[in-house]
Amino acid sequence: MEIHIRNLEFSFSGSPSAGKREAISESTPFRLSIPKMELTSGSHHAWVGPSGSGKTTGLRLIAGILQPQTCDSLRIGSQELNQMPSRELRLFRAQRLGLVFQDFKLLEYLNVEENILLPTRLSKSKYSVSELRERVVHLLDRVGLKNKKHRPVTQLSQGEQQRVAICRALLLRPQLVLADEPTGNLDPTSKTRIMNLLRQECSEIKSTLLVVTHDHALLEGMDSVTDFSDFYAQRQEGKSI
């Protein structure tokens, strides 16, 4: 699934990495501007840049979690996100996107299998229950956690938790996988392992992979790398850029 962005502008007064909830804060004025960006279908991309440069915000804009103030085009595949009502955006996110977060965002009260199956609890899936269970077993086998299917996620190491989060993102064979600093909390060995795993799995299901990172060591093997410093600007008090 290709990504096509034209003249996207997003600004709010909070920290760019702080996200949607802090957007109403007046403390740190911020503006993100992406004049043009094309990511081809099935390819692997990385966004790099210093902390707070707006990479996470960009990812959230693509996921439809945030709405840009102005944008000529924000197209994912054949769908123009700008014109999508919120219900369709949610369905799009549930059925066609796979999201991996830096802090995994697993639910502590669910075990490994239940966490992976969580997206199917939130929206209807085209797969049957048996297909989904088979898929979970397959994914867990691939990430080396097959024997920990029923274990509470709190009993897993951070690397294992991130692998579970990747399984959850890939469960419904999404066309686009967005990974926000997926290795940010991991040790160097785990980082490489997780990135390789993510790339392999996305290649297998022919998903477009977009990874946000500030770790240049992980960029090897990526089809394209975009430096987000070019798109980000922080306003001085009262002055627009």
């Binding site: 996110r93 239940e114 939130l122």
Partner: protein
Amino acid sequence: MNALYLAWKYWTHYRFRSGTLTLCLALTFCAPLTLKWITSGFEKSLIRRAELTPMVLGSPGSSIDLTLHALYFQTQAPSEISYSEVDALESHQLGYSVPLFAKYQARGFPLVGTTLDYFSQRGLSITKGALFVTLGDCVIGAEVADELQLNVGDSLLATTENVFDIAGAYPLKMKIRGILSTSGGPDDRAVFADLKTTWILDGIGHGHQDLESSPVPENLTFSQSQTQIVANAALNQYTEITESNLDSFHFHGDMGDYPLTAVLIFPDNQKSRALLLGRYEGSETTQISICLEEVRGLLGMVFRAKQFFDLNHALFVGVSILFLTLTLALSWKLRQKEFDTLHQIGSPGSFVIKMLVAELVLLLIASAVLTALLSAALYGIASSLLKNSIF
């Protein structure tokens, strides 16, 4: 269903937290609920018994004491009236009367002297044995039999239990003729005997060695004339009525003067009731108490006291609900990241609300079940305590 599934998972994962909240809610509601059950049961029981006993005749004084004595045999017996009042009542031909003499006890249970009519009027039946037939027989309530482990054919000692009455009557060993079926009322915790049996305890009737046969043993006579023999304290008085000494039991004086503590009156109709009230109005030696009015008056006092407890409970429940609201609000605030995650991976906006509502419903259901169980346990304990003290 998915919201409920996640709510259930959350609820069971944090068992201690959920259990504590459930217990807090259950404890908050079980006290007022139990009190409501108890007062409601108390009210029903008192009203039912009062309805079944329209009027009570007794000595002047506290009408509530008279009513409670006649209905529950628990309060101190009021001053006595004479048996002639029963004859007078019957001569009016306005209803049915059942005399009671409930002055003494048998092993801690009230001993009620009455006639066989008492059992038919109260609708009491015998589960074992038969009703009393001869002097010295008694019938015991189901709980008396259970508590004292007594059976038909056993003996039960009735005592005057008055240590100051040195010249008083002897204890009487009574034979248990029958056991009453459980009625759920004060009759379960009473011993019933014929009026004459209880009069023996009062010293009006007695049985002793035969002084009329000749020659009278000299060591038993205090004085002797042609018409009268006065025995001394060495005379053997019987403390048990048996077939062999039954004939020696006799009563002194006029039966009309024998004491009663109350007479239950069952008027034929409303007119008879009104006439009876009119006839006894202004009487200086007796009073008629209308049981239902007395009981309602008593309940009025009880419920005024209950209103205070209700207010107290309402405040307590209000504070607990505020604390619960605060706890849930803080918990939901702490879980904001979890809700954001659900939103980001595609949950509809209403999903989190459904999940929270499901959690609340689970909490309320569990609390309701626990409240019911705790209340039932408390009710069981409280009603058995109340039964021993009031009913």
